[in-house]
Every structure is written in C-alpha cells, then in structure tokens.
Symmetry: D2
Subunit: 363 residues, 4 copies
C-alpha cells in the first residue's frame, strides 16, 4: 500500500464536486439564499440518475440474451429493488426542496430561464430505457421531448432511443416462459375453460335468483357481460391486437399470458423470483408516477396559476405525464384477468414438476 494511502477527499473527488455550485443570481448581485439549495437538490438527483442508469445497464445486460440464466434473474430482481429504493429517496427529496417558499424561489428563478428539467438528459435516458416511447409522450408546448436538449445531450438521448428498452427485453423474456405451453398443457385454454365455466355459473345464478327484480337482474347481467368482455383480450388474439392498436395494451399477447401465469402461480419455485421481478417493475413504475405527481404539485405551489389562453401550464403538463408516461401499466391491468384462487385451475403434475427445484424433485 502506498504511503499515506487512499484519502476520502481524493477518492470522492470532493474538490471537484464541492466547487461545482455557482448561483446564477450571484452573477448580477448578491446571490439569492435559496439558490444553493435548488442547485444541490438537482445535483443530488443527477447523481442518483447516474446510479439508476448504471443499475439499468446491469439489469438490461442480464436480459439482453435469449437465455437468461436463472442465477441472474435473482440479481436483476435485487437491482430493480435498489432502483426502487433510490426512487423512494427521490420522492422524499421533494420534502427538502419544499422548505423553499415561492417568495424565495422568485428571488432567483428568472435567472434560470430557459433552463429546466426538460433538459435533464439522464432523466430522459431513464424514461427511454425503461420503455417510454415517443408515441406515448405528451408534448409540452407542442415540441418533441428532445427539442430542449442540446448537442451531445440530444445525441446521447437519441442514441438511447435506438437501443432495446427494459420493457421490450422483459416482454421477450416473458414470451420465452416455457411453462405456459408444455406437453399437452396450454395455460390459456385451461384458464379459458375455468373462466367460461365460472361466468356461466354466475349467469345461471343471476337468471335463476328468485330475489332479484327484473331491473336488478338486467343490471347484474350487464355487469356480467362487461366482466366477460374484460377477458376477451386474453383469450382472443385478434381482440388483443385490436385493443393494442388503440393503445389499450402494450405487451404482446404471449407476454401477457406469461405475466398472468407468473402472477397466478407465483408460489411455484420457478416463478417466485420472476414474480418478485414483475413486482419490482410495478413498484418502480408506481414510484416514478408518484414522483411526477408530487413534482407537479410543487411546481404549482411555486408558480401559482397561469392565467391565459393557449397551451397548458408547466404543472398541468407534469400532472398529465404522471398518468400518461407510465411504462408498465399492463402489469397493473393484469388484475383484470384474475379469478379467485379457489377457482384457479391446478397445474398438471407434469408441468408442476418442471417448476420445482432440482433437489426437491429427487425427494
């Protein structure tokens, strides 16, 4: 080991890190007190964005092959869990930024124009790599999302748009789930049968229920019809395709069946970690949505109303993206296809045996 050895300040390059804060308001007079907080909050976010992208490199590396090693699925789930923890910290960070009042923000906000978070290349890369596509985006003030990025930042983000996304890689991995079609077993058909029987039984119950008035009976039958329609996209490929055309679904038909299968039979050893992985994707999607929403509330608190005609205000745009810019919405929509566990078709022994641990098979 070298004399003196590694020094904390050098290791973390603190001289560089801690001299990277320059208040714009300080260039024309006394710096506004709260501008440093504004800078630090955003720099902290950018450090965490770098970390998220790094973990996504690892997760996407794992899913970049046609044969994902079972060992790596556990690692992927764990790293997605880390990304989730970072996003939760990111939501909490807004508590710190909200110690700044609108009046204090006004002391320096005009100095920042036209800079804004729209120019965060790393944030756009995270969105793109998760799976947010151009066609999914709401465009603020009718400009494409990368319009405000400059030079190398824009190139970097455009380049990212050419690469595979986590959404599509997970979709491909789901499509490769072996158990949904194995031997004579086809999960979809097995499930269709159970659902059909269940709905038929429900219809019988409604029709023959002596306690129901005609109007009530009609209402219940209508509700049942709606329930039946819900399952159509799952059982009928063309209906799924049609709904997908209209933006109703994003995952492929096969991937959807696999995701549902994993959700239903999550206790089988082969599916326990895959189920955790899907849960983490939903947690990430949801926490990013919560962050967007809280961010929009904060912008509204800072800027107030925008009275005028034409265009939506910044915070209204941000609020709409909370809803619209979700990537893994299909996993949430799977709940539509669930049936009570008691009605769940048991897996054929041969299939179930394939879904266990090797050691247990011997016993």
């Amino acid at each position: 080991m070298a004399r003196g050895g590694l020094y904390y300040g050098d290791y973390l390059q603190l001289e560089r890190l801690l001299s990277a804060q320059t208040a714009e308001s300080g260039k024309l007079g006394a710096a506004a007190h709260d501008e440093l907080l504004f800078i630090i909050v955003h720099q902290a976010y950018e450090l965490w964005f770098k970390q998220i992208l790094f973990e996504m490199d690892a997760v996407q590396g794992i899913f970049s092959t046609d044969q994902v090693d079972d060992r790596d699925v556990g690692t992927a789930a764990r790293l997605l869990g880390r990304i989730w923890e970072i996003l939760k910290l990111g939501v909490h960070q807004l508590d710190v930024l909200e110690t700044m009042t609108p009046l204090d923000f006004l002391d320096f906000r005009d100095h920042l124009v036209p800079a804004s978070g729209f120019q965060s290349a790393q944030f756009r890369q995270i969105e793109v790599r998760l799976g947010l596509r151009r066609q999914d985006r709401i465009n603020f003030e009718d400009k494409p999302f990368d319009a405000r990025l400059q030079g190398a930042d824009r190139d970097r983000v455009n380049h990212t748009e050419q690469a595979s996304t986590l959404h599509d890689q997970v979709e491909a991995w789901l499509e490769r789930t072996p158990f949904i079609e194995m031997g004579g077993f086809t999960f979809r058909e097995s499930y269709r049968k159970v659902v059909t029987d269940m709905l038929a039984h429900d219809e019988e119950t409604i029709r023959t229920n002596p306690l129901l008035q005609d109007a009530e009976r009609e209402l219940e039958l209508t509700g049942l019809k709606r329930a039946q329609l819900k399952f159509d996209a799952l059982f009928d490929e063309s209906i799924h395709a049609a709904q997908r055309e209209e933006g109703g679904w994003r995952l492929s038909w096969r991937a959807l069946q696999a995701a549902l299968f994993i959700t239903l039979y999550r206790d089988e050893p082969a599916l326990q970690v895959p189920f955790t992985l899907l849960s983490r994707l939903m947690d990430i999607d949801e926490t990013l949505t919560i962050w967007r929403y809280r961010h929009s509330l904060m912008v509204q608190r800072m800027i107030g109303l925008k009275i005028g005609t034409g265009g939506s205000s910044g915070h209204q745009y941000l609020r709409r993206t909370a809803e619209q810019h979700r990537v893994f919405g299909d996993l949430f929509a799977l709940s539509t296809f669930l049936i009570p566990r008691s009605a769940l078709p048991p897996l054929p022994d041969a299939v179930r045996a394939e879904m266990g641990l090797t050691y247990s098979r011997k016993a």
Copy 2:
C-alpha cells in the same frame, strides 16, 4: 394510589380493541389470510381520523371567535402541524397495504361488497370540516357523497355540514388582519403601484429592445399582457367577484389580500406565526391530495381496468378527486401575485412598528 393501579391493557381497553376484527371471508369458510391486514389498516386509519377530528375541534375552537388571542395562533399552528404529521403517516400506511397482492385481495374482496371507504363518516367529516363543499365535489356514479352513508353516520355528516368550516373561519380571521389597512396605508394600493410600475418598465424594455424580432416582441408582449391579467383579481374587486363566480377563487377579496400580505411580510414578528399557520394549511391540503392520488394508484393496482360503458371506474374517480377536492387551493394560487422581494414595497414605519413585539418597541 390505588392498589394495583392503572393497568396498560385496561387503560387502552385492549380486550375491546383487539376483539373487534372479524373477517367476512371467515364466515363462509376459511378466512382469507390478507383480510385481517385489510381490516387492521382501515381501523388504524379510523383511529387517526378520530385524532384529526379532535385536533380540528381545538383549532376550530380557537378560530370560532372574532378576536383570536395571539397566544392561541401559535397553538393552532402547532396542532395543524400535528394533523400534517398524521396525514404523512397515513400516506406511509399505504406501503403496508400494498404488501397485499391483487390475487390475495381477490380472496375476500367480493365478501365486502357493497361496503367501501365511501361510507367512512369520519373521513367525510374531515373533508367537510376542512371546507370541502357539496358544490365542489365530483359525484361518483351520480350519487351525492352522503348517499352511501347510513343512519346515524349520515345524520352526523349532514350535521357537520351545518357548522363552520376551518376554511371559512380562517377566511374570516384573515379578513380581520389589521395591518392591510392602517392609517393612510392600504396594502393593495401600495402593491398595485409597485406592480404597475414594474409591468410598465417591463413593457418599455420589451418595446425598446433592439435585439428582438417583431414576432418575438409580439410573443413577449402577449406574455406580459397575460401577466398583467393575473393581477386583475387582486386589484379589482369586480374581476375577483366574477372569477369567484366561475369557481376561480374561493377566498374573499379581502382575505386574499391579507393572505398575500402575510406571505410577503412573513418576517415581521406579528406575521411569523400566521405565515406558519398558512403554510401548515397548504401542507395538509397537499398531503391529503398525495394520499388521494396514491390511494387511486393502489385501487387501480388491485382492481385493474374496468372495461365497459358508462360511469367512471373507482380509481378514476379517486384520481379526479385528488385534483378537484382540494380546499386551500387559493393559498397555492397566491404565488401568482408574488413579485421579487427586491421590488417589494417597504412598509411605512408606523405600520411596521405595529407589527413588532412589545418589548422590542421600547428598545
């Protein structure tokens, strides 16, 4: 002290408290495992709702008089801070409920029909007492909000609708703020002058800026015009009244001026605690909004999509209420009226002297 003395279990009436959990799913067979979690989460919420209502009793008690004692304003701010902490805990509680998966919820959710949070009388009382009025509400499935409440619950909530709300009491208290019109000083006029001069100077700058193209100049003048319009409601009582008619404002014209005055001159000793109080009202409003939004995300995760015609789904209704059922939105909108601190009109010495601490005046 009595022999034996007070016993923890008796003090907290644990025998009663801990025997109040009965799973519906357990009445027809084996109880679904996650039903107890569902019950406990909601019972914990109801305990906290009781606490919130109790603190609101105290705060509203303080504001129920025409002459709120300066000593009590501090207490009110502190208790509103406590309500805020409870609401933050309420948001965190959703993390615990989200350890329940949609599949597990399906094991017992049909047993709960038609019970739902719409029937939480305490939650409705909190909404009503904060200041949410019938006309502000979005009605789910076209039923009035109290339609699902039964008997004593409905009476209790209707009765609450007859009483003063925190919003209106705070509005009345704001209207009584003495400093905005004192001696020859009228804050509104003093402020109008500064704003007018500022906007006139901005217009001059735009018109004479040689670097601007005609199109750019027009755009900036339009933006300036919009900025001018923003202030109209503050300076012109009839415009405020008209916007209030359309639901743009809720606070009275005088209350709005007082709230702005407190926000601008919050460092003056007489306004420090009032500013904290207004901030706590905004924190409560915002946290309740965040809770509503997260709750809607969770319901969506549990139920999935509702495919069908007519009516909005439960989670869509909940999501809209996050936006629409805000009570103190006007305090957030005040940011519209702010001007940079450097342009702020200094208070006349006579007024400022009235806003200090007695002891300091002697010095």
Copy 3:
C-alpha cells in the same frame, strides 16, 4: 346477501373501536389535550402488534414442519417482508408522538402511573416468539420481564414461552440445508482450505514485505492473527461451543455454516429465496432495534434526566435493550466469515446441479 349489504362501519366495528378511548386525566377534571394522542398512538401500535403476531402465526406455521415445502419458503419471505414494513411504519409513528411536548405530557402522565409499555402483552409475545429468551434480557429494576403483566396477559406470555420460537425454527430449517454436505463435498472443509491458503498467503506477504518497519510488521501480524481467530468458531466445533457458552453465538454450529453457505452462494436458484428470507430476518431485527433506540430517545426527551442513586432510568434501560435484545445477531456476525467473492471456492458441478431449477436442468 342481506338487504343493504355489508356496511363499512359495521365491518370495522367502528362503534366499538371509536368508543374505546377514555382519558384518565378527564376523570379528575378537564382532560389533558394530548392524552387522546397518547392513547391513539398506543392503540394503533397494539393493532399492528396483533397483525404482526398473525403473520408470525403463518410464518411459524410454515416452519413448524421438518420438510418445509419450497413453495412456502417464498410465502414466508413475503410475510416477513410485510412484518418489516409494519415495523418501519411503527418507527415513523414516533414522529407523530413527538409532536407532543414534555410539558404537555406532564399534564397527564402522573395519571397513568403505574401503567406502562412493560405491560404490553402483545409486544412481549412478539419478542418471545421472535426468539428473545429470558436469559438474554436485561431486567428493569431487577424484576423479571413478566412481573408487570397481570392475570391472563401473564399467562398468555408465559404460555408463549413454552412454544417454538421463529429463531429456533429457522435454526432447525438451516440445519436441514442439504447442500452443505453432499456426496464428497463438505462446505466447511472446502471453505477452510481456501481461508487457510488465503491467510497463509497474507502472512507470507507481510513477512516478506521490504517496505514494512519491524513495529509495523508486528502490528500487521497481530491483525492477521486476530483475523485467523475470527474463523475458529466456524471451523472448530469445540471453539464454537465454547463461544456459545459465553453468549458469543446463538445459532448451532451447523446452522451457522448453512447461513454462511446461503449468504455466499445466494445466486444459486435454490438459495435465492432462502437468502431473501435471511435478509428479512435481519431487516426485522434491525428495524426493531432502531425502534427501541428512537423510543429511548423520546422517553429521555419526555422525562429528562433521572438524577439519583441506584437503578437505571427508564430511557437508559430502553437504550440498552436496543443493543441487548437483538435476536438474529448471528446473521449480522456472519460478515466476519466472508471472503472476497473472487476467492470463493466454486461449487462442484454435482452440487451446483442440485441447486438449480428442474426445467433448467433438462436444458
């Protein structure tokens, strides 16, 4: 379904729940304002304790057999994760209780004597069932921990002491880990060889390092000797037994080896969920410790110093329990036995094959 159907208030037994709060201070005069908060906080804790005990029933039910089904290990890990979330909420709850000042607590705290959290039967049951034994406990004021419990509460807790604890059930499950001794492979011996070689190499490096002064060399050799000693309990059953006698270890020798094995080879499919389960046990242990510590800080804030002779004060006792009443400390201490992954002995192919998923074995 009955006419009207299930009603929220009846389902949650709100009449019962919300009439279970009686302030002691109110019996002798005007109730102290903050006493309701004190009651509600503790009642919320007791509701969550009930939930934790219910989840522990399920987890302990899973581990009560000699052949834990692989399917159930995933469920156990998930429910332990739920207990962890509840404990995190419990820590957050202290933020709400800390909105009560010491002066406000003094308004009613004398009315509560001698009741205290020492009399929470459910909390004691949680401790006992996790695995805290009488001999591990620090006794406050020299009384056994159950001395302050009365009647049925004490019986219930004593009865719980007769049953298996989660610690011991997990220990037994760890001892049954098949892979640590399989065919000609003994993990302990394989590991010993690698560690011995590694330490021998380190010793060689130190002895032959020309840059070291004699005093420095001696210091480094002493450090190495200490490192060697650390591993003794892992490789030598009698040394483990001796350290266990002195309270150094709690897990059996075999369970310790299994826990280390799982930690080192956690990526193997058969160990992914077991590793998550061990992690959750550590998370629970750590969060309970954090809660104890924060609770002690809060008691200190409320009561202040206890100046006097003899005995420790309440908050000092609580602070010591944070350290002493840990149950799964051995899992944390495993870090002592880790070696860099690069030095880790690869598993024999035959053993590794047994640790995979059945389906993957065919491919």
Copy 4:
C-alpha cells in the same frame, strides 16, 4: 436574454459532476459493481453537508450579534427546520446503501483502506460548528479526531474550532432573554417558591398517608428526595457549577433558566418563535443521533464482529458517539425541571404585557 440562454447541464455543471466517480476496484481489474453506489451515496452526503454548512452560515450570522433582530429569529428557526429535513433525508439514504450486501462490499472495501468517513472534513465542520468540543469526543483508537484529516482539510477544521459555535451563540442569546429578570420579577425565585411548596405538599401527603406501609413510605420519601435534588442545579448556582464541572451541564446557569422559561411560557407571543427554534435544535440533535446509530448498525452488518483484544471496533465507536457526541443534551434535560402546567406560576401582568405583540397591546 442571451441567445440560447442558460442550459440545465451547464447550470448544474453536470460534465464535472458526473465525471467525478472513479471506482478504486476498477484500477486493478474489473470494477466491483457496488462501488459506484458507495461513491454516489457518499458524494450525495457531501453535497448535503455543504448545504447544511451554508444554512449554518446564515443561522450563525443571525446569532453573531448582541442584538438579534426579532425578524431574524423566525428566519433562523425556518433554516434550522431545513437542516432538520436534510438530516432526515440523510437517515433515509441509509436505506439505499443497505441494498448493498456485506459480500458485495467485500468486493471492493479493501481497496478503500485507509480512507474512511473519519476524513470527511465537512462532517467534522458540522459537528464542530454545532458545538461538539474536543473534550466531549470519544477518540477512536486513541487518536484525536482530526488526526486522520490531511493538509487543507485539517487546517480548515482546526480553523473552524476557533470560531463561535451555534451552541455558544444560542447560549449567549438565551442569556440575553429579558423577561426572566424584569422589574421586581425574577423567574427563578418565582419558580423556586412554587416548586418548594409543591414538594413540601407532596412530602406532607406521603408522611400522612395512612395506606402506606413503613417500607413503602421510605421508598416514596427517597424518591421525593431525589426529585428535590433534581431541581438543585436550577436554583443553586454553585450546585449547577459543580455539576457543570463534572460534565453534567453545559449551558450556563442563566441560559438554562431562560431555556426553561421559554419552554414553560412558549405560548406568549414573544416566545413562540424562540420555542420553535429550541425545538428545532433538539430535532437536529436527535436526528443526528439517530443517523449515527443507524450508521453504526450498518457498519456492524457490513463488517461483522471484530474478535480480538484491545481497542473498540469501528461500529462500537460509532455507537458510543451516538450517545456521547450530542450537543444540545441540556435542552432535553430541561424536562427534569418541568412541573404540571396547572402549578405554573402565572406571569405578573407587567411582564406578560412586555411579551405580546405591539398591535395587541393597544387593544
């Protein structure tokens, strides 16, 4: 506005910020995956430390004068509240770091030796400026706390030790509290009288209580004696000085009386914001303590036990600092001097009038 205008990436100096992460483990081979997380976490901490020091500059600037403007006390309380929020975020950040397992840490931790948090100059500056003195510190491995700091870092910290600390500035401000000695009123004497009467009454009650056995009576009288002793430091300057000599108290006798006065009469307008300020100091002290404790738990989880003779391990040192390195402990100890509000001596009208708002005095 300049052509192009301010750009987000330039404003936040992202090129500089995001190129400041270099893994040590990457210098000798493939970088350990988790080393980036380790770097990012610590860099985020250092950004927040810079922010805390900046806010302390402002707060200490406010308290650096003999006549703190009433307007500035509100600002100081608000900025201390911001520091508290940042510290809470700092505690949460440990959740992210704990997604790193001990095995993953082992992949690169040897590359970091001998760098450690002991070399964080900013953290030491925060400690020193809050008020932690050399004599208060526990020294790790018998080295003074600044021994591990190098060059400019050490100079900077030593220089900070020469400046006023927040503790001492607040102490001086407390000593200047006018109301505790005003006209013929001396708070200490007024309080002594009430406490003496109260204790005398308690003693009478014990002596004449027919229900008490002799042994019980003795026990209660001993407890009462202890209670009497508690107040000695408050009423007797020489006893306070003696206890201060032994490290029992840190605040001066006069400052202690003022802090108690503010705590008791916090509702008076002149004391509302000072009470908030003292509360924030306690919140900061407590949260820093919680952070130290959680950090020690995490280090223990990462490193395991340190078996050997001599010296304490890193995590044991960290755990002891949680207790020992508190700065505002006296404010917590004030609870010792509290008496029930009902027994509180009312302030003389003349004094109370001085503690109000000017405007209210006229009314």
